[in-house]
């Protein structure tokens, strides 16, 4: 899923400091699963902001609405009747959400309430880790099912570098050296030969480097099947 962290209250409050009536829009997709932008978090943010504004003596009206998904126009269209009622809207969806909203409602101002961080998953309750860099050319099968592009700090294709120490990356003792894991996995499986030789140069055109990407499925473009 897409993982995000909520922005600080200070940053969010500064964004809407001049507004008197706002909407906080949550999303029932990834950000609900990573506990940052679902109904609960929307309510908590609304209450926290009201406390701040009361303390300041500047009243604010806050409504909340949690969209099924902010990355689908059919759900984004669902708030068309109310979106004009507010001075501004804070979206707690990933970076995709406030853009879909901005594109559909060009006259409204949408603020991102979260920092979208990575594609990953929860390794334990409350801890999320990056697993995918969305490079557009998946080859994890070559690396014991583990991705060095996303998980090596230097995206090395022929690692591990000289900074690998006791299974940890040189940048941080809490960061796993994924190449250490890959090498040990191959060695344990008796498949060291998979790591002999030079792995070719990566084509980054399928990654963000090739420009903003688009995925087209012709049979669906023509209608539901």
């Amino acid at each position: 899923m897409i993982v995000a962290d909520r922005k600080s209250l200070e940053e969010i409050l500064t964004m809407v400091k001049d507004n008197k009536k706002i909407l906080i829009a949550g999303c029932k997709g990834c950000v609900t699963v990573c506990n940052v932008g679902g109904l609960k978090e929307v309510e908590i943010l609304a209450s926290s902001m009201k406390i701040a504004r009361k303390k300041q003596g500047t009243h604010i009206d806050i409504d909340i609405n949690v969209l099924e998904r902010q990355c689908d126009n059919e759900y984004v269209a669902g708030v068309s009747d109310i979106i004009g009622n507010y001075d501004a809207v804070i979206s707690l969806a990933c970076g995709v959400g406030p853009q879909f909203l901005s594109e559909m409602y060009p006259d409204q101002t949408f603020y991102p309430g979260v920092n979208t961080t990575f594609f990953g998953g929860a390794t334990q309750h409350g801890v999320w880790e990056e697993r995918c860099a969305g490079c557009g050319t998946c080859a994890i099968n070559n690396f014991g099912g583990l991705c060095p592009i996303a998980r090596c700090a230097k995206s090395l294709m022929n690692g591990p570098c000289g900074g690998s120490s006791n299974g940890a990356c040189e940048i941080n003792k809490d960061t796993v050296c994924i190449w250490d894991v890959i090498v040990r996995k191959k060695m344990d499986a008796g498949k060291l030969e998979d790591l002999i030789g030079v792995r070719g140069i990566k084509n980054w055109r399928t990654a963000r480097d090739g420009g903003p990407r688009r995925s087209i499925r012709e049979e669906l473009v023509q209608g539901n099947i």
Binding site: A153, K154, S155, L156, M157, N158, G159, P160, C161, G162, G163, S164, S165, N166, G167, E170, I171, N172, C177, D180, V183, R184, M187, L192, L195, I196, G197, V198, R199, G200, I201, K202, W204
Partner: protein, 310 residues
């Protein structure tokens, strides 16, 4: 290795079977050419080639390419270091061409320390290709006369290709295979990370010799003389991939503070003596970090002078 690949002095020295002795010099944090040239004078005539580091530890300094050219002007031979952290394949290839055009004949291909260590930790890193692929690229440009995209190069750069090797990083059992991969990729010579744990290095070299790697490539053992016990402690704790045995720290601490530098040099000299005899070791890479002025004395006492003139 019948014909010379690059014609660099380092290549000639190694090919002639001499025990090579290379040095290292960090470019200034600024455009202070005067100071840089002073440092060159300590190295001139005492080493076969001098590594010009490339934003080492991710701290911004004068470019290694410019530093290398200044070195040539002063009559020394540079070993131009290049990291993959700061350049994409376009910049890498154009810098290689530029380096060759300006007289550079040795190159050391590196991944580069992560930028979070340096003085611009907010930087975006590149890592379009990795050090292994960089080695293969320099070899392709030299031997096939082609760019990465297979287009022909009008006057290919003939570089003597160097690579780094850290036998003290993990996973240890894999390190010798990674070295083999670098040689397969095209490394002509290897400069190892600073060696302090001699026992581990002996074991590593035995493995490398058993695989015949020393016959395909020149392996230069990395030596850094310790200035004092504090430096040893610091490197042990904060420099990634360093293996500094407690026995060495103890040895440095066992003498008076004012004598610790001498003790550090003595240990380095003992290392050089052992490397001269060690099977598979073709030379020493002396990294006297910010201690260039001690290199003449170290070279003298290491009995590696005069350097061969070929």
């Amino acid at each position: 290795m019948s014909e010379l690949k690059s014609g660099s002095n380092l290549e000639k020295v190694l090919k002639a079977g001499h025990f090579a002795f290379t040095g290292e010099c960090g470019p200034p944090k600024g455009a202070n050419v005067t100071h840089l040239k002073e440092k060159f004078q300590y190295l001139k005539g005492n080493v076969d080639a001098v590594n010009m580091t490339d934003n080492q530890t991710a701290v911004v300094r004068m470019s290694s390419l410019a530093g290398s050219v200044l070195m040539i002007e002063e009559g020394l031979e540079p070993n131009f270091q290049m990291v993959c952290r700061d350049r994409n394949r376009l910049a890498i290839m154009s810098d290689i061409l530029g380096a060759y055009a300006l007289g550079i004949r040795n190159m050391l291909c590196l991944s580069g320390d992560h930028q979070t260590f340096g003085n611009h930790p907010e930087a975006k890193n590149v890592h379009d290709i990795d050090s292994m692929q960089l080695i293969a690229l320099v070899k392709k440009m030299r031997d096939e006369g082609k760019f990465m995209n297979d287009e022909d190069i009008d006057v290919p750069p003939k570089m003597f290709i160097g690579a780094a090797c850290n036998p003290f990083a993990d996973p240890y059992e894999y390190r010798v295979y990674r070295l083999a991969n670098k040689i397969t990729a095209g490394a002509d010579f290897i400069q190892t990370q600073c060696i302090f744990n001699m026992e581990k290095f002996r074991d590593f070299m035995k493995k490398a010799v058993d695989m015949g790697l020393h016959e395909k490539c020149y392996i230069l053992a990395g030596v850094t003389p310790m200035k004092n016990a504090g430096m040893a402690n610091f490197m042990s704790r904060f420099v990634p991939g360093m293996d500094i045995p407690d026995s060495l720290i103890k040895r440095l601490k066992s003498v008076d503070k004012k004598d610790q530098a001498e003790e550090g040099i003595r240990f380095a000299l003992e290392q050089v003596e052992e490397f001269k005899e060690m099977e598979g070791v073709a030379g020493v890479h002396m990294m006297a970090i910010e201690w260039e002025h001690r290199v003449p004395e170290i070279a003298e006492r290491a009995k590696v002078l005069p350097r061969p003139v070929l």
